[in-house]
């Protein structure tokens, strides 16, 4: 068993380090971080009315996470496999004595690290609310944690779709569409439509698979095991698909 795992995961750390370096060797990571933080700030202050709530918490900030992840994280993940295919380096990778799962996880974790860096850089906002009032810091830390798990789920969609195509643009568009379905399923506008068409039971089922619904509890500072399991399970499912789609390359 241990041997099996070691074999499957061989190449993980080499891949992780290469991918992480690749993000920072080009303007990619910097542009992503800058625009992501700008958008997050803009939405929190302008659309979320951060100061008007009169409460010292980060609710208006976290509420935008699913929507911004939906657009930004597929952009971060789109190059992971499509770029290899486009430049022919996938052939080099497949000729190495390493396991596909190690490659898949190495790449995903590199993108996840960049996303985590984005979250860390929002710390000034957390510091600000502590100046403004007396927020529940444990609750905020917990929301950050679940938000990071949710980011992994979004990235796993982008990475898996990227392994299906040699075009980064196609990977991005398809990933955003899939991410939108899983995000918007919990949107009141969509839910009320589903409810009027298919009844309450079905609407509940749809809502249960939505990132927004799963993230709701965490936003209030409640740690729901169900949500943690959902995001981890979702990521694992797409990692599995990613492995399947990446090894399909060998069939020609």
């Amino acid at each position: 068993m241990k041997d099996f795992l070691t074999r499957q995961m061989s190449g993980f750390s080499a891949t992780y380090r290469r991918e992480l370096a690749a993000y920072f060797a080009t303007p990619m990571a910097y542009v992503f971080l800058a625009v992501f933080l700008l958008a997050l700030g803009l939405f929190t202050w302008e659309a979320g009315r951060f100061f008007d709530t009169g409460v010292a918490d980060l609710q208006p900030f976290f509420a935008w996470h699913p929507w911004l992840y939906m657009i930004f994280l597929p952009a971060l993940a789109m190059r992971l496999w499509a770029d290899e295919r486009a430049s022919g380096t996938d052939e080099l990778l497949l000729s190495l004595p390493i396991g596909i799962p190690g490659l898949v996880l190495g790449k995903l974790l590199a993108a996840w690290t960049v996303a985590a860096a984005g979250l860390v850089l929002t710390a000034p906002m957390w510091v600000s609310v502590n100046f403004l009032g007396d927020p529940d810091n444990t609750a905020i830390a917990l929301t950050y944690f679940v938000s990071l798990l949710m980011a992994g789920a979004y990235l796993s969609i982008g990475a898996a779709v990227s392994s299906l195509t040699g075009s980064q643009v196609a990977a991005f568009v398809i990933s955003v569409v899939i991410a939108f379905v899983f995000t918007a399923a919990g949107w009141p506008l969509v839910l009320s439509t589903v409810q009027s068409l298919f009844g309450t039971g079905f609407a509940d089922l749809v809502a249960r698979f939505s990132f927004i619904t799963q993230f709701e509890g965490a936003q209030r500072g409640v740690l729901e095991l169900r949500a943690v399991a959902y995001f981890l399970g979702f990521t694992a499912t797409f990692v599995y698909l990613n492995c399947l789609w990446a090894s399909r390359q060998r069939l020609g």
């Binding site: 074999r7 061989s10 190449g11 750390s13 080499a14 891949t15 380090r17 290469r18 370096a21 690749a22 060797a25 080009t26 430049s87 022919g88 380096t89 052939e91 080099l92 497949l94 000729s95 190495l96 004595p97 390493i98 396991g99 060998r250 069939l251 020609g252």
Partner: protein, 243 residues
Amino acid sequence: MLEVRALEKSYGAKQAVRGVSFTVEKGTVLGFLGPNGAGKSTTMRMIAGVLEPDAGDALIDGKSILSDRRAAQAALGYLPEGAPLYEDMTPPEFLRFLAEARALPRSQRAGAVDRSIADARISTVCHQRIGDLSKGYRRRVGLAGAILHDPPVLVLDEPTDGLDPNQKRAVRALIARMAPTKAIVISTHTLTEVPAMCHRAVLIDRGRIIADDTPAGLARRSEDGSLEGAFSRLTDQVEDETL
């Protein structure tokens, strides 16, 4: 040593490789010749474990590329067609990545990287991004990657394609230096370099081996005694048969 056993591969209805077999012993450089689309690259991809064959097998240093893929790949150095590389890395970064991915013992990595940089003569471009290098240097960086782990078997897909005469000579010299201790397969369609570089020539056309001989022996099969003559005569012959 390398043993290729009845490899077959189809893409949809098109049979790209139809039962290719050959053996290369240590100390032999085998030239893998054939027209474009004959199945050279497909065969080499299957040997490298990049492409799964529909039938047949390849044994690299005695290990099957099907049942013991990782051990076989560890014994193989492979230069894919066009030498694809990570353009955002410098040559030493790229080689260190390969050393780590190939799980060379930590203590040997730096030595292996230095040795392959010296062997491939790329020390002067070590500080440049691979994306900024000329075609000749990129090809040599690819070669450095293939020989990094000092494998007993080398499969090089068009290692001299697109190089100027000086660069070609340098690559040929590198291959000649390594030849005594390795089994090497080189694909090329520059026939003039075959007698200088290869001990044996295998001619493939439409997925089948149509000749397996020494370069001199192959040349004797033509009317004018040249390799080009033999190449066009043998590949035309196949074309006539199918008409």
